[in-house]
């Protein structure tokens, strides 16, 4: 009976499949010549077509990362990463999972993707400007419906005027997320990520990236280090968005700074005198949303860490010449990967994550500082570097030594100020910190499972002492970094830099 149904389904699919269709047409609306991708049937029990991943990458100009040991392939479209694994049906799309009907296959040295991957994963990830037509086996790319029509520039007395041409006037926001990255948000707009991406699209702009995130079109301008600032304005009734990049002093040449070979990467390069030190401190309130953390003495960790972060922020901004940003400012769930992504994209230079501790023994007491040290990521980073593939969870690798220094300085400075026992600085393989591309530590401020200690953690005096300790430690690390001519963090994603090489 079951076999009968299978046969009937197969016959139906055969009848409805386009006759003689063995290629997928890729049509580009921006004028590029069309491409044809060969299709194959790999599954005996199915009539679904498969297409070679390499053909898709070449035709569409996607970034691709392949790790043969695990059979994982990551395709990057704009800022969205699509991860497939050979012989599995699961596709990881950013923070979401999509289950295909058929698995990804590996044949004769090539990864093959079921056609439904293009239809249900790739085209939707690219945004509404892409359209997949299964009946005609055709993928239409870009052009149609895109609201960002193009980009050009003009050089004016050394400064650069970057002009984004829009289909109409859009509500927008132009923001510097770090000194080398300007983010343009266009609300209720559509962008074709691939049509606009490019290296050096204008003087003072190293690279342009674009991303469709829901109803927002996002454009990222990666700037040269000698950009001193920018102004944004509109012309033509809002249909041209102008970003004037001001050229600053040329950076003083510095001797080449060599990272250990295990962690060397292009984006981690010496910066000029103007770029030394650090400018943004990220403060993370641990846990949140469904993840409550420790519960003890009538308190909940996620609430206490948020309260502490809000108390510490103004005190740290008053004590340090830095901007302090919170990774979480409300009670919401954030996965470790998303938290690390937020940290990396925020352009922060140092990250301090606040947590409360817990133990089975009620007498456990004190504060401690945790870090992902060189011992934890060293071997893995080396393996990854050898394969030109740096997995997300090893992003901390190049910063592990700095994180260790920060942890040690921090436990010393906190030890001078806090009344609780000092449990020291410890190396721990924490999932969240492994994905963070900057010096980063977790501060366990005390034990909620210790009734006597829980009261202390709530007091404003304790927050003041914590702020003073963190400020002193961050200042010491920034001073040391400036003296050594090294920048703290970077904003590029590790994979894209690894892929360039």
């Amino acid at each position: 009976m079951k076999r009968g149904w299978q046969l009937a389904c197969a016959l139906f699919c055969l009848a409805t499949a386009p006759a003689g269709a063995e290629v997928l047409q890729v049509r580009f609306e921006d004028g590029r010549p069309a491409a044809e991708l060969g299709l194959q049937r790999l599954e005996a029990a199915s009539l679904e077509w498969y297409v070679a991943a390499n053909d898709v990458v070449r035709a569409l100009g996607l970034e691709r990362f392949w790790k043969p040991e695990t059979g994982k392939l990551v395709l990057k479209i704009g800022e969205t990463k699509l991860q497939v694994t050979v012989d599995t049906r699961l596709v990881v799309v950013g923070d979401d999972d999509v289950l295909l009907h058929l698995p990804v296959r590996y044949r004769a040295g090539s990864v093959y993707l079921p056609l439904e991957f293009l239809e249900t994963v790739l085209a939707p990830a690219a945004g509404p400007s892409w359209h997949f037509d299964r009946s005609r086996l055709q993928l239409t790319v870009g052009g149609g419906g895109a609201d960002v029509l193009g980009i050009d520039y003009e050089t004016v007395s050394g400064d650069t005027e970057v002009r984004l041409h829009l289909a109409r006037s859009f509500q927008h926001r132009v923001q510097a997320t770090s000194k080398e990255l300007v983010r343009v948000r266009l609300f209720d707009a559509v962008v074709n990520p691939l049509a606009l991406v490019g290296d050096a699209p204008a003087p003072l702009v190293r690279r342009l990236r674009a991303e469709q995130r829901g109803s927002e079109a996002l454009l990222y301008l990666e700037l040269e280090p000698n950009v001193d600032g920018f102004d944004a304005s509109t012309r033509d009734g809002g249909r041209t968005l102008v970003i004037l990049l001001r050229r600053g002093l040329e950076p003083t040449p510095q001797p080449e700074f060599k990272l250990p070979e295990t962690a060397q990467r292009e984006s981690f390069r010496p910066e000029g005198a103007a770029r030394r030190g650090c400018s943004v401190l990220l403060l993370d309130a641990g846990h949140g949303g469904d993840d409550a953390g420790v519960r003890g003495s009538g308190l909940v960790e996620k609430d206490l860490t948020l309260e502490l972060a809000n108390r510490l922020r103004p005190q740290l901004e008053a004590a340090l010449p830095l901007r302090v940003e919170l990774l979480r400012s409300s009670d919401r769930s954030i996965t470790d990967e998303r938290r690390a992504e937020l940290a990396n994209k925020s352009g922060g230079d140092i990250l301090v994550s606040l947590h409360c501790n817990g133990a089975f023994s009620p007498g456990a007491s004190g504060f401690e500082v945790l870090f992902v040290g060189p011992h934890t990521v060293g071997n893995r980073a080396q393996t990854a570097a050898a394969g030109n593939f740096l997995p997300w969870q090893n992003a901390q690798g190049p910063y592990a030594t700095r994180s260790q220094q920060l942890a040690q300085v921090l436990q010393t400075e906190l030890g001078k100020r806090l009344s609780l026992p000092n449990r020291g600085a410890r190396e721990a393989n924490l999932t969240f910190l492994r994905g963070v591309a900057m010096p980063a530590v977790v501060v366990e401020v005390g034990f909620l499972t210790n009734a006597g200690e829980a009261g202390t953690l709530q007091s404003p005096e304790y927050a003041t002492q914590l702020a003073a300790g963190i400020a002193a430690a961050v200042q010491r690390l920034c001073d040391r970094s400036a003296a050594e001519g090294e920048r703290m963090g970077w904003v590029d994603e590790p994979e894209s830099e690894a892929a360039k090489r």
């Binding site: 953390g293 003890g296 996965t335 817990g358 133990a359 023994s361 945790l370 924490l430 977790v442 366990e444």
Partner: protein
């Protein structure tokens, strides 16, 4: 003389030789009976007091295996070990289950502390020889009743991995499951979605 002696003895003891013999043999029988009771009484004072060192006492005559279990110290700073004698099991899986049950039951020595919620139970155990991976499938109490905090989480995982490593050296990887499913994390700090390399936690 004999008659006089007999008279004197009758006057002293007042018992005939037959009565004395009966008394003597009665005494011997009572003595032997008492000795027997003392020798063969299960918890008699002649038995040396056995050390109660395990949660499930080995049955007499059955082979035992010595296991090393890990718990936390009072300050939750370090793992501390205890030795237990448990009945020898037929398979690796059964031995692991006995060790984990003892681990969950908690420490017996002073200043040693639990590292598992008391309600946690091991539902099933699998071992795959090809990858030398041990799968431990717990009930949901492992997560729901865990106090949380990076220290408690570290000590739970550390004690589990070190107990397995100390007693079952053939295991090189350990996958924690809850109700048959892999979990991302026990309490939000350490990754348990993939098998834990035992060597990373040594």
């Amino acid at each position: 003389m004999q008659g006089m002696q007999g008279e004197e003895e009758r006057e002293r003891g007042g018992r005939s030789p037959g009565q004395r013999r009966l008394l003597f043999w009665s005494f011997v029988v009572v003595l032997l009976g008492a000795a027997g009771v003392l020798l063969f009484w299960p918890h008699g004072p002649l038995q040396p007091e056995r050390e109660e060192t395990s949660t499930s006492s080995p049955e007499p005559g059955k082979a035992e295996q010595a296991l090393q279990l890990y718990f936390a110290d009072d300050e939750a700073q370090n793992l501390v070990s205890e030795r237990r004698a448990l009945p020898e099991r037929a398979s690796l899986e059964e031995s692991v289950e006995a060790a984990i049950a003892a681990l969950v039951a908690g420490p017996e020595e002073e200043h040693h502390n639990s590292v598992f919620p008391k309600e946690a139970r091991l539902l099933q155990t699998y071992y795959t020889e090809s990858t030398r991976t041990l799968f431990l499938d717990f009930n949901h109490a492992l997560v729901d009743r865990h106090p949380g905090g990076s220290t408690a989480e570290y000590l739970t995982l550390g004690a589990l991995v070190r107990t397995v490593a100390a007693n079952f050296p053939q295991v090189t990887r350990l996958q924690i499951l809850v109700d048959g499913q892999a979990i991302d994390t026990l309490a939000g700090h350490f990754d348990t979605s993939k098998p834990i390399e035992v060597s990373d936690w040594q």
